[in-house]
């Protein structure tokens, strides 16, 4: 637990004081700035000038120059000396008398007229370092006298002392200290605090002052340090409360002082130094014949019986560094934080940060990552300090250089781990988490590139999944440094992303293409091809034209997505469909898909596109037809597609398509559809009925061809079909024989199935005489029922109309009886002007309007019906 906190430096050597006179001893000392006064047992005061000299190596020494010595003439030891520098006086206690001497001449000060300068019968006195009285040219002094159980408070002026207060104590006091109004006293059997203003007393704790010398030492505002039983140094404040834990001295302690954060105590053989922060003994210095230990304005001075020394605190930073060198992190931090009050704020912050960082590195070296991280965080470590430990992680372009003096003792990670790969790995994992955490904070301001590049390298090396997240998000990875690293670990996909981040999409695509083509190996994405297609979907057109070809060759179905899945956006050049179609010229399948996309999804209404698509469908069918006995199924599918398109689209050039299939007898159905498109229904039906003998299709044709037309058209079409079925003319291919019977059956089926569209009377006239009723029963039934239904419906309608008429008549009669009010405030419903004369006309419902308005209306109405219910009223 030891620290080297202080160094003992000789100040005044024996030679300078008493030479070889053996019986002369030092009794007391006082130091005031550079002035050192020493009182001896032969009643002398010696005055020295003490100069601090720092050697070139930084070693501190003291140079004492004797200015004067003076015999006080009392033949008794000089018991105590206190300087009152503002008064230029020394207050001296010798032979039980307190008196003043001049600080410079050491001459006794003669009594002034108004009062004495001497106090007699004094055993001890103390100066109030926290005086209540504000006069700077007056010193407050507490005095213990040998005969009375009292404490006296005096004011000391340049040339007189004045008693201002006297308080009684329960026992004989033997040591005193003063702060504000509070006297801290050692009595015969106990310590107590006495407020000399109010007289309030507070017992502290028992202490046998006859057995052991008491110590009463003011250490700060209203706080005292006291020698307690068992060799303890106890702290007590003016309220009689201990706010710090005691320190443990030896029983024979003579004097003590505080030099923050340490308590320094002197006993017969040693100077002991305890920390007030953790109460531990930090340093012991051997010191023979110790006699005096006192602090003067923060400087601790010690005297043996023969010589004077200064206890020089080592610079705090040095102490802290010593602790850190011993890896005593907690102690170093306690010491640093304890010093906060004694160091200017900005300086403290710098120191504190540095110590925290160093502490962090020590713990880092011990692989105590949690603690290390916390200290790095609190110490606002420049993360590059940490990164720089890992060889090659910082980009070559980084301007970083480690801080000096170094924060740690490690050359690099290998040095730290001593070849232990496990350790190296743990350190890397730690850096990954640490950088991941700080990357989005202000800690990395100004070194974002270094941090992101380091992180990228680590991710790549450790095969970490976050590599892609890093590259997919906003990042500052340095390209030049990252490329070789990613290549080394075969992270080509990631490298592509990095190129993309840097606006080099073409480079990214080339790389990915090489991966897909198997030239490079990177298994990051099994769906890299799809990824590329997606990527091209949102790329600029140059890239699309450049790389789509590759994608289409690789997989036309997927590849065409580049064009079909391209999101529409306003701020980007749109694809021109004509360009795409031209581009896709060599890629039949893709072209078909693209045209389908245009027609079916985009619903593009361009003749060219539609015709093109129809031709492509047709070409496909034709190629299947001409090919080797192609799969029946494929052909069926292809034809279905073609037929559907021919039916549904009405934009393609019908004649052109028709011309293309002129020579193909297999495509009669399609031709029928095209004839239908051309309104050549008879041709279409002829093909269907006579060439194909496909009556179902003929029926469907009628349904389809009339689907958007009125019922009369539909009726016409069905009659046309019926006519074709029943046509027995000479030139009809159906005349007579087997075929004719078939057609008749088709006619019967048609009538029975679609009876409702036919005009039954016309049908009956058309039918051959010899047909049996039974055959046509469903049709006839329906026809009769329909006509009966129509008849009855119209009768009902007639009845309803009549009753409505009656109702209206009734209403009118009612209205006629009611008065109709007309006033100048009411407006005419037709022209919205007010009425100015009583002549009005009433509309149905009793609404008055101007006569001329009605006249106007009647004139304008096409039927020119006359209003029958006009009447004149007031």
């Amino acid at each position: 637990m030891s620290v080297k906190a202080f160094e003992l430096v000789p100040a005044v050597e024996r030679d300078l004081l008493m030479g070889d006179k053996a019986r002369i001893n030092i009794e007391c000392i006082e130091c005031c700035g550079k002035h050192l006064y020493v009182g001896t047992n032969d009643c002398f005061i010696h005055h020295f000038l003490l100069d601090e000299v720092t050697s070139s190596k930084g070693k501190l020494t003291y140079l004492a120059q004797k200015l004067l010595h003076k015999y006080l003439g009392l033949k008794k030891p000089v018991a105590e000396l206190r300087a009152a520098s503002a008064l230029e006086r020394l207050i001296v206690l010798c032979d039980g008398i307190v008196f003043l001497v001049d600080m410079v001449t050491l001459e006794s000060v003669p009594s002034a007229a108004g009062g004495g300068v001497k106090i007699r019968g004094v055993t001890a006195f103390c100066i109030n370092e926290n005086p209540v009285n504000g006069d700077p040219f007056c010193v407050e002094m507490g005095v213990l006298s040998s005969r009375r159980r009292t404490v006296q408070v005096y004011m000391v002026y340049e040339d007189r002392v004045q008693l201002v207060k006297e308080v009684n104590t329960p026992e004989q006091p033997c040591a005193v200290s003063l702060d504000g109004y509070f006297l801290c006293l050692a009595l015969t059997t106990q310590y107590m605090i006495l407020n000399y203003n109010t007289g309030a007393a507070q017992d502290l704790f028992p202490y046998n002052s006859e057995e052991r010398r008491p110590i009463v030492k003011r250490i700060s505002r209203e706080e005292f340090l006291l020698a307690a039983p068992g060799g303890l140094g106890m702290f007590a404040n003016a309220e009689g409360v201990s706010q710090r834990a005691p320190v443990s001295w030896s029983e024979s302690v003579i004097a003590a002082a505080v030099c923050f954060p340490y308590v320094v105590a002197l006993d017969e053989n040693f100077v002991t130094i305890h920390s007030m922060l953790d109460q531990q003994l930090k340093q012991t210095l051997s010191f023979r014949d110790g006699h005096v230990l006192q602090d003067f304005e923060g400087k601790v001075i010690l005297a043996s019986t023969k010589a004077v020394y200064v206890l020089v605190p080592l610079p705090l930073e040095r102490q802290i560094q010593d602790l850190l060198a011993g890896h005593r992190v907690e102690e170093a931090l306690i010491l640093t934080e304890g010093a906060q009050r004694n160091i200017p704020k900005d300086k403290f912050q710098i120191l504190h940060r540095r110590i925290l960082q160093q502490a962090g590195f020590i713990q880092f070296g011990q692989l105590r990552f949690l603690e290390a991280k916390e200290h790095f965080r609190k110490g606002q470590l420049d993360v590059r300090e940490l990164i720089s430990l890992y060889p090659l992680l910082l980009p070559a372009s980084s301007t970083f250089s480690r801080c000096h003096p170094p924060l740690h003792e490690f050359a690099d990670l290998n040095h730290l781990a001593q070849g232990d790969q496990e350790k190296v790995l743990r350190c890397k994992k730690f850096l990954i988490t640490y950088l991941g955490e700080v990357r989005s904070t202000e800690v990395v301001n100004g070194c974002r590139e270094d941090v992101d590049t380091a992180l990228l390298k680590l991710y790549a090396e450790q095969d970490h999944e976050s590599l892609l997240d890093l590259l997919a998000s906003d990042n500052s990875c340095v390209l030049a440094d990252s490329i070789p690293w990613l290549e080394k670990y075969h992270k080509y996909f990631a490298l592509g992303l990095l190129h993309h981040c840097n606006g080099q999409d073409s480079a990214a695509l080339q790389l990915w293409i090489r991966v897909v083509d198997g030239e490079l190996q990177d298994f990051t994405r099994s769906d890299l091809f799809e990824y590329i297609v997606d990527f091209l979907c949102s790329s600029n057109l140059d890239l699309v034209w450049k790389y789509a070809d590759w994608a289409l060759r690789k997989d036309p179905t997927m590849g065409v997505h580049i064009f079909t899945k391209r999101p529409v956006s306003e701020d980007r050049a749109e694809l021109n469909p004509d360009d795409v179609i031209a581009y896709l010229g060599k890629h039949n399948q893709a072209l078909l898909l693209y045209l389908e996309h245009l027609v079916l999804e985009k619903r593009i209404q361009k003749e060219k596109v539609h015709t093109h698509l129809a031709v492509l469908y047709l070409d496909r069918v034709l190629s299947l037809l001409s090919g080797t006995p192609a799969g029946e199924e494929q052909l069926t599918k292809a034809r279905e597609k073609l037929q559907a398109f021919l039916r549904e689209s009405s934009l393609y050039r019908v004649h052109f398509v028709l011309g293309k299939m002129e020579n193909y007898e297999e495509l009669l159905l399609e031709r029928a559809t095209l004839h239908g498109k051309l309104e050549e229904h008879d041709k279409a039906l002829h093909i269907l009925v006579h060439k194909l003998r496909d009556f179902r299709s003929a029926e469907s044709f009628c349904m389809w061809a009339s689907s958007c037309r009125d019922s009369a058209f539909q009726q016409r079409l069905f009659h046309l079909l019926l006519g074709v079925y029943l046509d027995r003319s000479e030139n009809s291919p159906a005349a007579g024989g087997q075929a004719g019977g078939e057609l008749e059956m088709a006619a019967v089926d048609l009538l029975n199935r679609h009876g409702e569209v036919f005009d039954a009377v016309r049908v009956l006239r058309m039918l051959p005489e010899d047909w049996s009723l039974q055959l046509l029963r469903p049709f006839l039934n329906r026809a009769v029922r329909a006509s009966t239904h129509a008849c009855r419906t119209s009768q009902i309608a007639l009845g309803l109309a009549r009753s409505e008429n009656l109702q209206v008549l009734h209403d009118r009669l009612k209205e006629v009886k009611k008065p109709i009010f007309v006033s100048e405030k009411k407006g005419c419903h037709l022209c919205h002007n007010t009425f100015s004369e009583p002549d009005v006309v009433c509309l149905p419902g009793g609404v008055p309007v101007h006569a001329h308005c009605v006249a106007q209306r009647v004139r304008d109405s096409p039927t020119k019906r006359r209003l029958t219910n006009s009447s004149d009223q007031t």
Partner: protein, 252 residues
Amino acid sequence: MKKPDVKVVLLGDMNVGKTSLLHRYMERKFKDTVSTVGGAFYLKQWGPYNISIWDTAGREQFHGLGSMYCRGAAAIILTYDVTSWQSLGELEERFLSLTDTANHDCIYALVGNKVDLTDAKAQLSQDSDGLSEDRSTAAAGDEEERTELQAAPASPVSLSGSVLRKQVTLEDAVALYGRIMRYKGLDETSKLPADKMCFETSAKTGYNVDALFETLFDLVLPSILRKRNEDKESPTVDLEEVGNKRSRSSCC
């Protein structure tokens, strides 16, 4: 240094285990102690408050300091050793009078420690939280702790082999608690019930240790609030402010 809001003091004869109890509570472990010299204190963060806990020395030599430690205390833990009748007697004879300097509304707890030596139920740690804490520190790489931890709760057999006679029963403690309340002049209505304020603990296994401190901390909360209010009413003088005022008036 953070300024404590309230003070809790442990009193009791030497060797009863005051220091061990504090170690167990603050550091979640049982470790070797030396007889305390003078006193020591810990700061415990309890919610938004800082509680200072004073460990005093039981040795006769330091007896005189007790009153000072107790001055202004909000709670005092009077500790005895269940295997020592004398340690209970000392509380009444020697330590009770030290508490005269405590706050008038000070809370008293009577704690019989080392109950692991006499009661099987205290031999296995209840203090699961403590265990897991220990484990995590052990995992952090401190070899010493790990072995010690394994020795403590994992060997109830060796412990039960040495069950000592219990010299102080809970009833004895409850009776003393009554006498303490009488000494303090507290009547039945204003005092806290004995069954709530008498504890049997084991610093060794952690038995009942958290319960002891947490009960006390909860009970001193009102005292903290009262103290904060008082501080608000009589705030400490801000020297800078006074200085400013003076300089302002002097320039007029």
